[in-house]
Symmetry: C2
Subunit: 252 residues, 2 copies
């Protein structure tokens, strides 16, 4: 049995009773540590759970998952995933492999940035397709997210921009870095969307006690220090009156 267990967004307090029961019943507990970031150090999570955690890197899940699936074929294995298990694209792949290996999979859902972003007051039903902003590297400078943002805007929809995380390098993209990548992409694609006046909602530490939401212009938010990661960006589309009022709470 393989349990895919969402941890929610902050720390062990976000675990559900269902998740705790599955973790306690598991022969071994893994933590997928490369798609997001919890507030607490792993040692604290181990202490709260009373279980040692084996942290998996991306390659452990994407290429070297065989040993874990072998354990799950004969015993009960829990894989903790920050947020909701299907918030990251790699986990459907894992689900498919497990099924092919004859392993039963159970899922324990939890909060994800994809819905918790509703706390900004922007309606979840008025979001278009979510995009990811990756760190640019030599030979990898994608701009396709800009076309998707443009499509959402054309329909009046908000766009959630997820910011790149390279946990193994300790790199977590900040609001400022994300806005700079939007600007760099704009220079190439000339969509006319990314201007200093573009309305932006910057979010840091969503679902944590010190969560920070600031609404402003792109140039204003580039100059704002959002503190500790993780961060995220929303580019609002057309606003309803209630949405406007909610954003006013986050406007300095």
């Amino acid at each position: 049995m393989l349990w895919l267990i969402g941890t929610g967004l902050c720390d062990a307090q976000d675990l559900t009773l269902r998740a705790l029961a599955a973790i306690r019943g598991a022969d071994r507990v893994y933590l997928e540590g490369y798609t997001s970031l919890l507030r607490c150090p792993i040692q604290d999570l181990e202490k709260d759970l009373g279980r040692p955690l084996t942290v998996l890197a991306r390659k452990d899940v994407e290429s070297d998952i065989g040993p874990l699936l072998e354990e799950a074929r004969t015993g009960s294995v829990a894989l903790l995933v920050i947020g909701d298990p299907f918030g990251a694209t790699t986990h459907a792949d894992l689900y498919v492999r497990a099924r092919h290996a004859g392993v039963e999979v159970r899922v324990v859902h939890n909060a994800s940035v994809l819905t918790a972003i509703g706390t900004t007051g922007l309606e979840l039903y008025r979001f278009g397709r979510t995009v990811s902003l990756p760190y640019w590297e030599a030979g990898f400078e994608p701009t396709s997210f800009l076309a998707r943002i443009a499509e959402n805007r054309k329909r009046g929809l908000h766009t959630l921009c997820l910011l790149d995380i390279k946990a193994d390098q300790g790199r977590f993209m900040t609001v400022r870095e994300g806005l700079e990548i939007l600007e760099s992409a704009e220079i190439r694609e000339r969509t006319g969307i990314v201007t200093p006046d573009l309305s932006i909602v910057g979010v840091a530490r969503l679902g944590w006690p010190d969560q920070l939401i600031i609404a402003g212009t792109l140039s204003g938010l580039k100059a704002t220090d959002f503190g500790r990661p993780p961060h995220a960006i929303v580019i609002p589309g057309r606003l309803h009156p209630i949405e406007e009022e909610m954003l006013s709470f986050w406007t300095p």
Copy 2:
């Protein structure tokens, strides 16, 4: 203090430790009972929580929220919302009113159908705008969801169709009823999308132990009994190989 607390999808086992602490510390605990449906009767939830629950109807939240906000101004009030607190549009409105009444609001996030739908294997990043299919009534026969589905399909994106709930009348739209409304709308709008061969994923009791997912054609799924509510429908867009493989698990 007003706590907006997501319950997750099934029963008290889906509550997080953070939610339980807030509920235990609250002077009074309300349950918003009109936007979704838990598996357990309210009496069971009360027993599991060790607290009496006051169930709110839509009008209590949308028009008559004054007394609750007054309680929250001087004490601690918990409002349980099935799924995630911002999964329903009325709660941003409540947040705004609370802030205007000088009430501090805290949010405890949880799983929502909007992300748990990822358990179908359809990637959350390949969903377009979510639509709602309402029950048609005399003088209220909207078809606008069809244009949104068409826009999503044009971009190759999946569409999650949320199905109407009239909890006060004990009416919970089934997959079959939802598909019939799509067909009725198609007769008027003639988009060419809604045909007997249209690929559909029907979902029942998402996140419950007896969750059911079936992929098939519109005509096939219209003839399928999905059992107890709540139900939901996904209209898949273009499929990646992994998505195709995931859907094959749900194809009878």
